[in-house]
Amino acid sequence: MADLAHLVLQTLDKGPISDTAVTFPDVETGVVHGALNSLAARSMVTYKPIDIEFWTLTPEAEEIVEKGSHEFRLLEEVTKSMEGLKLADVTKVLGAAGKPGQSRAFKNGWIKKDGDKLVSNVSALPEDTTAKDLKTIKETGTLGDAKELGELRKRKLIEKGKKLSYSVEKGPEFALEIKKLETDLTPEMIASGSWKTQTFKPYNFDAEGAVTASGALHPLNKVREEFRQIFFAMGFSEMPTNQFVESGFWNFDTLFVPQQHPARDLQDTFYIKDPVKADEPEDKTYWENIHKVHEEGAYGSIGYRYPWNAEESLRLVLRTHTTAVSSRMLHKLAADPKPARFFSIDRVFRNEAVDATHLAEFHQIEGVIADYDLTLGDLIGFMDRFFTRMGVDKLRFKPAYNPYTEPSMEIFAWHAGLNKWIEIGNSGMFRPEMLESMGLPKDLRVHGFGLSLERPTMIKYKLSNIRELVGHKVNLDFIETNPAVRLDETLV
């Protein structure tokens, strides 16, 4: 092929090639194309394809070109036998050509019937036009007479074919010698200085780059990190939530959740069988305060007025919310009351039936703001700012019920894509029964809010099944190819 390429260049040096099929009749089209393509890639030549229709002979027609047409051969036979050719002998003499030769010769008026014999009807042998035309087609691929072409095709003597060839001209980089193209710059080229004269193969900018090997952080943890950064930016300290097992006291009682509350049912909460029972908290005053505020009321509250059971309070549970930790942090804060902001994002457990949107475990995002003279307007205004940072800018608040916050508000966000309000979280002011039991001063009010980490993530990334996001059924490809997270970015 290199030789062909050089041949093409040498030929072109003398003048353009109008048809490669003519110039290089013995080289296959594919080979010609390969040579031209490689030269064109170096801009040494330009070429255009030429489509030509041509006719080829069938094997029958090849035989005609060699031996003459059937009708002509029949006429020869008839003329040879002076007394005529017996009809019965036609096939014997001419074989398969006999029958079509006979009918064509009749049609041409070359022979006639005389009893059971065929005799000549012409004085001299006529010209064998069929054989002549076919010979022309064989040599040139076509025939001037279109009608005759059609006739020969009908007689299944010729078939149409297509031929591809090329016209070639010099390109901008035309030269008689072919330079080697480099694909990449190498240190050797720089060392030798050959990069200055070297020609580089054009890069295919339509192709994808090579796949890079990489590690990946889990998508949900990437969202978690975005939330953490929002919290840090707004002055929140992270709470130590590394405690899955809680007592009923911390998980419920300190939050003024009555002992008969449905959240404490076996249906909703995982209780622990081993170990069996928690110890009372170190702060006995607090323990008694909680007992009293549930059973009799205190701090201006009439309480729930039921016999509070210490055993129930000491039952061990898997924490159902991280608010158990918030409670402990606020209890600590009561030793030195001052404004504070806490947050946590960690796993909580619910003994729920598992379905597409619920697992027995999920991540709770929780924020706590403690300050003097906080107002409900502050909480609402804070939520506005907080959610703006995750790309949600239209919020409204629905009064709700929660045993440990009053007022309690469900947070609804306008979802433009779904064209509806969706609930994204809960918030409220912690009840005085909860805060004053800890020893926090009356005017230090505390806001709390919470949402799940999974729900906004699923909405944002249009996941319909929580198992695609959390747990062992998550697809590793999903983890490895999930893009970086920007909560403030509007995802369409």
């Binding site: 590690g215 405690q243 097992v245 076996l266 404004p339 409900l376 709700a400 009053e406 998550v474």
Partner: protein, 596 residues
């Protein structure tokens, strides 16, 4: 949250106007209830040849027992809209008060009872249905499935007082239960309803008690067997005119709440609306002799400055009173102190415990969404990560940067996964075990990250090899010396599986992370030098001769050597247990808490 279905046409009639679904949804939102469904938006089912009437399904907050029926929802919304005033619930003064004599034996099983009578009631099919519905909702919610409280209602004209509330040996109680034809004793009744879809789940409340609570009339006819069932004899029907309500309980506070809701809601249909005939309870043995129901207002106070301060608005005391009136609370400015409101809480609002509840109602009436959106910016606080999370993040990022993928399996797992599958033994002092899991998948809190990670690999068998995954998260251990008898421990684990074991890869990963944490590789003999070293170990999770323990000497106290983890080629049986065929693998697990 309970959901109450109310007749749509009836409700809009009661509210004096019709609403589009969106308008009604908006009203609910502002008030703090939630329109769950408007059944007219779908195909209404045809029951017994009649198309069902359109219903609004409304979710009610769990503390609003006064809104668990049509009557309560209509009343609360009408008052909220300013169309109605709070009704004046009144006790009548009957010539001869019906008496309920409580026997001391009831203290063994269900000691409290509270009763009332509704006279001249007019039921319609929908009112009757609502009356039954309210009892169901109360039973399911406040009454904790009848364990705390249960109620029975009777056609007073079929029975006569004085009534007695007793506790009797089951076999001595004999009556025809509601909607039955056969007379049965207490024991037979338990057998009869055992497995009953509706009542079966309540039997346990008294089943094993030597005595069952029972209400008799003057002629020793059984009225009810609380908390299971009423008698057929005293059954109320659409034609019943006089209704006796008896509520029994183990909870002294809730028994009154329940009877109050029933009478407040349905006295509306009495010949003299909102009047209730009281009943005398004679119960000297436990000091519970009294007249019931007590529908008097509870008098309390609320500070104007507190309400304004918490809500973040500036309302005059009078304006606050007007706001509270819309929430069914009767408030007046205190005659002596204009910063004080005297608030009367109706018997329908037992959810009001503290002035914060009054404050919330003022906020709702004002409209949460009408409040100025301010920002709590007065006090500067500083944001800080929890140190353990900070160190975890360093490890996570370093491991990911070396080309490993982070996974997030569950924390709960089966006992086998945590022990047997890893070829480990449960010594009984290690894992926290759950008492009431719904599935075998959640039996223990994991003590190792490996089960979840190996399950992740099992679910990703189609992934190209090698698989390199890691996790940094908590496990939990038992510790009897702690208040909550357990503590979390932050672990880092990595698992490699592929056509080669990856033992050296995992070893190299450990070295890399230690280097990034500025923990030097030392020799065991370097006593007193901070750093880490590894030592061949026998660990059943790993292949013999291809397992090592990781030891650590703290920078602050290098005299101590602690084992912080181990790594090795995973034992073939471990891979088999987790159904990971055709590959070999290595794993590493380290407690990172000493690195703090």
């Amino acid at each position: 949250m309970p959901t109450v279905g109310v007749d749509k046409e009836d409700l809009y009639k009661a509210l004096g106007r019709s609403y589009t679904t969106e308008e009604f949804d908006e009203l609910c939102f502002e008030f703090g209830i939630e329109l769950d469904e408007d059944t007219s938006q779908g195909e209404l089912p045809i029951v017994n040849g009649v198309q069902e009437r359109a219903q609004l399904k409304i979710e009610i907050p769990a503390n609003r027992y006064d809104m668990l029926c049509f009557e309560g929802i209509a009343r609360a919304l009408n008052i909220f809209l300013g169309r109605e005033k709070l009704p004046a619930y009144t006790l009548t003064k009957p010539e001869k008060m019906i008496q309920f004599v409580v026997k001391p034996e009831t203290a063994q099983i269900r000691q409290y009872i509270s009763c009332a009578v509704l006279r001249g009631i007019t039921f319609t099919p929908r009112r009757y249905e609502s009356f039954i519905g309210l009892q169901d909702k109360l039973h399911n919610n406040l009454c904790r499935n009848r364990t705390l409280v249960s109620m029975g209602t009777h056609d007073l004209d079929t029975i006569e007082g004085p009534f007695t509330y007793e506790a009797v040996t089951p076999t001595d109680i004999s009556f025809v239960p509601l909607n039955q034809t056969k007379q049965m004793n207490g024991e037979e009744l338990m057998q009869f309803y055992d497995g009953d879809k509706h009542l079966g789940r309540f039997l346990h409340i008294i089943r094993d008690s030597p005595v069952y609570p029972v209400v008799y009339d003057a002629k020793r006819r059984v009225c009810s067997l609380p908390p299971i069932i009423n008698s057929e004899h005293s059954k109320i029907t659409l034609d019943t005119k006089n209704v006796l309500i008896e509520v029994t309980a183990t909870d002294k506070t809730k028994v009154e709440i329940v009877v109050n809701q029933l009478v407040a809601m349905f006295s509306e249909y009495c010949s003299e609306p909102f009047t209730i005939e009281p009943v005398e309870i004679v119960s000297p043995h436990n000091g519970e002799s009294r007249i019931t129901p007590d529908i008097s207002m509870r008098e309390t106070t609320a500070e104007v400055s507190y309400i304004n301060g918490c809500c973040g608005f500036k309302q005059t005391p009078e304006e606050l009173c007007a706001l509270l009136a819309r929430m069914s609370l009767v408030a007046k400015v205190n005659a002596k102190d204009s910063n004080l409101l005297d608030v009367s809480i109706p018997c329908t609002r037992p959810d009001i415990l503290h002035q914060c509840d009054i404050m919330e109602d003022a906020g709702i009436a004002y409209g949460f969404n009408n409040l100025d959106r301010t920002f709590p910016g007065k006090s500067g606080t500083i944001g800080d990560p929890f140190l353990l999370n900070k160190v975890s993040d360093i490890v996570r990022r370093e491991v990911a940067m070396t080309g490993w993928s982070e996974v997030l399996p569950l924390i709960l797992c089966s006992h086998d996964e945590n022990f047997k599958f890893l070829r480990r033994k449960d010594d009984g002092n290690t894992a926290v075990k759950l008492a009431n899991p719904k599935t075998l998948e959640y039996q223990v809190v994991r003590t190792s990250l490996l089960p979840g990670m190996l399950k992740t690999i099992r679910e990703n068998r189609k992934h190209s090899l090698p698989v390199k995954i890691f996790e940094v998260s908590d496990v939990a251990f038992k510790d009897e010396s702690l208040e909550r008898k357990s503590f979390n421990q932050r672990h880092w684990a990595a698992v490699f599986v592929g056509k080669t074991s990856g033992f050296e890869t995992v070893h190299g990963l450990l070295d890399r992370v230690m280097k990034m944490l500025r923990i030097n590789w030392i020799k065991e003999s370097d006593t007193g030098v901070p750093g880490y070293f590894i030592k061949e170990a026998n660990d059943d999770t790993f292949f013999p001769g291809r397992a090592a323990d990781i030891f650590f000497r703290l920078r602050t106290d290098p005299s101590k050597t602690v084992k912080i983890g181990s790594f090795g080629i995973l034992h073939p049986e471990v891979l088999e247990h987790f159904e990971i065929p055709g590959v070999v693998g290595s794993a590493l697990e380290v407690n990172i808490e000493p690195f703090l």
